[in-house]
């Protein structure tokens, strides 16, 4: 287990000394800040409008959770689909390109430890990235009184979802020594899982159930509503587990080619 920490620590240091880490962080926060500002603006404008119209009923319907927090959490998933591949692309592809994999593979370190170390590093970076956005709900709690439950469950869902994205990125990075190929294939797989149940609305029976269950985003909607469903938890955890195992298999099999 110590080896996992050693590898994760080195990797994190690498992420934080490379420009790509900061570019991704900036892009992520800038875009989210802009969207948050837009949503808040709309909320204020509508409140103002209903007040002018003295529409008490509509004013009662105004809800920070539904009109600002839920949409920002939804939007963040799209931005994560765009940014996570940029964080994960280097994890294994760069080692292979720079031939440093030869050092790791000839050290008394297991493949599982290498995979977990890389995974942990990407997870910590992502947790920091997502953690910084807690500022948005923080502001709302300071100036308003939204409900806490859905925010907590929403963030838990977001972290799980983003971790699934990392699992995909880790795997695609283990397949190639080209970082661009790794990023693009991660992006393609993520989009596929994002859109997998887009047509299930016109289906019925088992095929609909399967597609809906496979959708990464489908389960997330429950979390944003404030529902922590075990079905969703199990789905995310097994998705992450599958990604890690596949990465290990891919690294192991590379030796045989």
């Amino acid at each position: 287990m110590r080896n996992v920490y050693f590898i994760a620590a080195r990797e994190l240091r690498s992420i934080f000394t490379s420009p790509i880490g900061y570019i991704v962080l900036t892009f992520f926060l800038l875009l989210n800040g802009w969207i948050f500002f837009g949503l808040l603006n709309r909320f204020n404008f509508m409140s103002f409008l209903y007040m002018q119209m003295q529409n008490q009923q509509a004013l009662m319907q105004m809800n920070l959770n539904q009109m600002v927090l839920a949409p920002i959490l939804q939007n963040m998933t799209v931005i994560l689909v765009l940014t996570v591949p940029l964080i994960t692309m280097r994890l294994f592809a760069e080692e292979r390109k720079m031939r440093t994999d030869e050092l790791l593979m000839t050290s008394p370190v297991g493949i599982g430890e290498i995979v977990l170390g890389k995974f942990a590093a990407a997870f910590v970076f992502l947790a920091v990235m997502i953690g910084l956005t807690v500022l948005y709900p923080g502001l709302l709690f300071h100036y308003g009184n939204p409900e806490l439950g859905p925010v907590v469950s929403g963030y838990l869902g977001l972290l799980l979802l983003a971790t699934c994205f990392i699992a995909v990125g880790l795997f695609t990075s283990s397949l190639t020594e080209n970082q661009i190929v790794a990023a693009v294939s991660c992006f393609v797989v993520l989009l596929m899982f994002y859109l997998i149940n887009i047509n299930s609305i016109s289906m019925s029976g088992a095929s609909k159930d399967v597609l809906d269950y496979l959708s990464l985003i489908g389960h997330y909607e429950d979390f944003v509503k404030g529902v922590i469903d075990t079905k969703g938890l199990v789905y995310y955890v097994s998705f992450i587990g599958a990604g890690l195992v596949l990465t290990g298999v891919s690294l192991e099999s590379r030796k045989w080619r």
Binding site: N3, F6, R10, R13, S14, V109, W256
Partner: protein
Amino acid sequence: MEPMIQVDHLVKRYGEVEAVRDISFAVQKGEIVGFLGPNGAGKSTTMRMLTGYLPLTSGSVRIAGHDVQREPREVKKRIGYMPEVPPLYLDMTVGSFLLFVARIKGVPARERRARVEQVMHQCSIADMEKRSIGKLSKGYRQRVGLAQALINDPDVLILDEPTAGLDPQQIIEIRNLVKSLAGNHTIILSTHILPEVAMTCDRAVIINRGRIVADETIAALAAGRSLEEVFIQLTMQPAAA
């Protein structure tokens, strides 16, 4: 006493291509053996199998009494390996890189700092400790590569073309360094430069097209002839099918 490196009937096949065909040799403790052959003879492939980086197709490799396939971790603890391209993280400083290698090679925490100091001293890179590896010249990178191989004070040192691409001055420095390591470490180094073997090694194993064509002491090999003549004669022979 069991030899430090024991290779028996080693074979590596990539699909139809046989890169290494039935190689056997042994290296005793404290020996420096030169692994000599033209480019593409199977030197790197053999060395990578010794380190456990590549799986064997058949045969066996034992390092310090441990089988590389059955006890890869035990073997990896006891070797220092410098591949053809030194495995360096260019964004790290020399000191932090060596500390990282010490960690994953299993050097105990309280000895790490001292080991890093010692290998930096041995490889004359102590004044480069705070420099970023990406900014170092090729000669210095090669030395950092050697330093990382030495960090766990390995029983067996496997060096794949340690002097490739260096200028004459640097070549001499690396050679002297390798020579100074003999005795405490068992060393196997590959090269296609003949004088290198004559100058640094006790024994030469000459390999051509995946087969061993000679395994003798330098003196016996070159008796009365120049090493060039021997090498060309041995490696020009058509490989028997």
